[in-house]
Amino acid sequence: MSEVLRQGVNQESAHTEGHHNGNGLSFWEKWHRGESFFSKYVFSMDHKVIAKQFLLTGMFWGVMGGLLSLVFRLQLAYPDTPIPFFEVILGKWGEGGILDPNFYNSLITIHGTVLVFFVLTGGLSGTFANLLVPLQIGARDMASPFLNMLSYWTFFLASVIMFVSIFLPWGPAASGWTAYPPLSALKELPNMGIGMDLWLVSIVLFIISALFGGLNYVTTILNMRTKGMTMARLPLPVWGMFIASVLGLLSFPVLLAAGVLLLADRHLGTSFYLSEIFFNGQALPNYGGSPILYQHLFWFLGHPEVYIIIIPAMGLVSEVLAVNSRKPIFGYTAMVISMASIMFLSFLVWAHHMFVSGMNPFLGSMFMYMTLAIAIPSAVKVFNWLFTIWRGNLRLTPAMVFALGFVATFIIGGLGGIFLGNAVNDILLHDTYFVVGHFHVVMGVSALLAMFAAIYHWFPKMFGRMMNRTLGYIHFLFTIIPALLVFVPMHHMGMAGVPRRYYSFQSFDYLAQWQDINLFITTMAIIGFSGQLIFFYNFFYSIFRGKKPSSNNPWKATTLEWTTEEMAPGHGNWKGQVPTVYRWAYEYSPPYLKDTDYVPQHIPPEQIKKEPVKVSEPVE
């Protein structure tokens, strides 16, 4: 393999020249090479270390978010029973074992926020864009390693602020992750004071981090591809990161603006979102603003945000499916075009979250049509995945099993979207448990399964060892089964008119019958959470004690990340030269091959052992 590597001479820069002598390096270059503890593990500029930092932070928030949800799930299961340990863990918010309703709202707020932003955006794209973009396009690092480091540390700061806000005596924000004003603007409301300000500051920092990261990914993908790596040869994870980053760069600033205006309404006496409010026994002076303006600004990001999460997930899953089906991805170009059209359409559907906000019905109907249009590229992707495994030779690795689970759950979630995108149906379903079921199936389950698939698949690349396979399967079962049992019934609850964000179902006669299902859901949630402990054990155990892969390409994949000399490469990724690319990333089982069933991207055509192509040779 290494002879082959050395054949591809290309784009070597001063960057690697200094590789074997440490003299005369700039300060940044020394830092980048990570020679001290600090520059190697903490303030590292190496994209692989930054990827791990994102992953660990994401995992931390995953646990945190999960624990928060268990607390409010227990409340829903036992709304009138004092739960003694609430007082122990929550202090004044759980006095006498009764959860404070404001704190319930805080719990759902922080749960939603950290899972959407910190786990599924930071943890998922942050990790895999960082890990895979340079490795799969054949670059030694990001275009700006420094900005990349800054991106993580801004994210870290956002995390710290959010974390601190949870424990302050004034209570964490309680406005829901959507933070609609006037609720979020009235700082005299319980839990809407300092907690809400910290929430906003944290989100602003997170957006800055996402912009730093996104700029870097886009620049890197456009400028740093190795010789021969045309855009049309990019592996799909890279396309996913690219498209999601462009989407983020265009939409995140709008949320930034929304957040800053909200801060102004809170503290500078402005009236962007406020008008005609009588509150706390007095009429507020604000006049002329509109809470609907905030909703437009929020969902102009909020909708793209869900695709910022799912598009990278789609890319990662496409790769895992192709590698383990030993078959090219079906419709590579269609996959790229559909991702691009999802991105484009994402900007034209945001008001489907606002069908019943009093918006002009004509506008509503337009948004209904655009929303259903976005289902078309989504369906193209689903069928392409199905056709990818069709007539494949499926190697059912844990990663593959998770990727298949992604496809199964994405189907359910996408079909739920058809109900909600239908404006008439949304009059019933908006702000009911149907919405909760829908987005948890697509994000909470689907995107999370994709993230696990990617972790199992690229774990050797990150840590140089393999994860325990059997535990991977057990983890899969302990994840998908409880997750579906939690979220599918919620669709039915929504159709039966159960509103979301309810502290208890006690006040309504027509909700009482759902109490038993609440208990069931809570039990399943606990089981699902316990399943994640298996993953955590496997993850940390395997970092230190996992089996070493027998070769540097354990999955027999075609992409460049598996061509590094070391399983978990160090600074600069390739010790020798960066390989040149000769073909697309999905040359699996081409009929002309003899002994193997794949041709890596970097193998020159003349080195392929071919056999004469037999005409008509159906596999089945």
Binding site: I83, P101, N102, N105, Y180, P182, L186, E276, I277, F278, A283, S290, P291, K327, P328, F330, A334, V356, P361, M368, A373, A379, V380, F383, N384, L386, I389, N393, L394, L404, G405, N422, A423, I427, L428, D431, M467, N468, R469, L471, I474, L477, I481, V488, H492, A496, G497, R501, S504, Q506, S507, L519, T523, I526, S530, G531, P549, S589, P591, V619
Partner: protein
């Protein structure tokens, strides 16, 4: 289940999980993680098929049955009938697509699991197939959306001229109603005039408001179009009538509208549901603070003559207001 039993159950599940887990860990120790034998793939494929697919389909069927036992009674407003029809249409259409695609997925898994000596077929995709997918999905969606395009405007058009007007105001954490009185006109409102005697901030100098009726009771006649003018005094709320399948946000500073024609009186609905305590409950569907989940009110749907009688018995808001002002001045 009591809380104690529940905790026991959970503890049991945990212990079970950890036993399975320990076994799994040991099994793998003497295996090569890169070796995927035929039997390994076969076992995994069939396990997925049976546990996830067969189990999932059975669970879905059970879940649908469970839902049918608990679903809302027949919609009690014409608009709700349309909404429910669209919803059922969606259930049917997506149900079919769900079964087809999921079956494809899992059939492929048990059919094409990896075996030595077998080779995947090299199919990079065909533009024709992609075009067919796009066309098929587009046509399917178009058919699905056509009736909705029509009903949406039926539901969202301005209310008919002869509709009975009622103003709904949400505030933390209750609802208040205003009827326009004999003149059929609401008096002007200004939030700066709100005080305990004038909870809606009706302008006392506007004669149109003098006969307005302010009440916490919501009564409407059956069979007549009812036009709601929805407002909020503080944060966003949402006026959600599950039995009509309808909701509309109440937004401070931005009036919103909704209209419907009730089909059954409360009494009729009691007979239909066989529940003698049945009332049309109204919920708040937009997070509005700590009392969100108890922001309940009810609609009483009555025969038209009963409605007239009830309305005639109400005193106009201004009468009480005026008297209170007089008393205040005397003090």
């Amino acid at each position: 289940m009591t809380f104690g039993e529940f905790m026991l159950l959970v503890a049991g599940i945990f212990i079970l999980a950890w036993i399975v887990f320990a076994i799994g860990h040991l099994i793998e120790l003497n295996k090569d993680p890169e070796e995927f034998t035929d039997s390994h793939n076969k076992r995994t494929a069939w396990a997925m098929f049976i546990i996830i697919y067969v189990g999932g389909m059975l669970a879905s069927a059970y879940s649908v049955w469970y839902y049918l036992e608990r679903k809302l009674p027949e919609p009690a407003a014409q608009q709700g009938v349309w909404i429910q029809t669209i919803n059922d249409l969606n259930v049917l259409a997506t149900g079919i697509v769900f079964v087809i695609t999921t079956t494809m997925l899992f059939l492929y898994i048990i059919k094409y699991y990896g075996r030595k000596g077998r080779k995947a077929q090299y199919i990079p995709g065909k533009i024709k197939v992609e075009m067919m997918i796009v066309a098929g999905v587009a046509i399917g969606l178009m058919i699905l959306i056509l009736p909705s395009g029509y009903y949406w405007f039926q539901i969202m058009t301005p209310a008919p001229k002869d509709a009975i007007k009622v103003e709904v105001t949400g505030y933390q954490f209750a609802w208040m109603f205003r009827y326009p009185g004999p003149d059929g006109k609401f008096g002007k409102r200004d939030w700066r005039l709100i005080n305990p005697d004038n909870p809606l901030g009706i302008d006392p100098n506007d004669p149109a408001g003098h006969d307005d009726i302010v009440t916490t009771e919501f009564k409407v006649p059956v069979g007549k179009p009812i036009a709601l003018h929805i407002r909020s005094r503080d944060v966003i709320h949402s006026f959600f009538i599950p039995f009509f399948r309808m909701k509309m946000d109440a937004v401070p500073g931005v009036p919103t509208f909704m209209w419907f024609t009730p089909k059954y009186t409360t009494v009729q609905m009691r007979e239909k549901t066989g529940n003698e305590n049945f009332v049309y409950e109204v919920a708040c569907a937009e997070l509005c603070g700590s009392g969100h989940s108890s922001m309940r009110t009810t609609i009483d749907i009555v025969e038209p003559q009963e409605f007239e009688q009830w309305l005639n018995k109400q005193t106009a808001w201004y009468e009480t207001y005026k008297n209170k002002q007089v008393i205040a001045e005397m003090k």
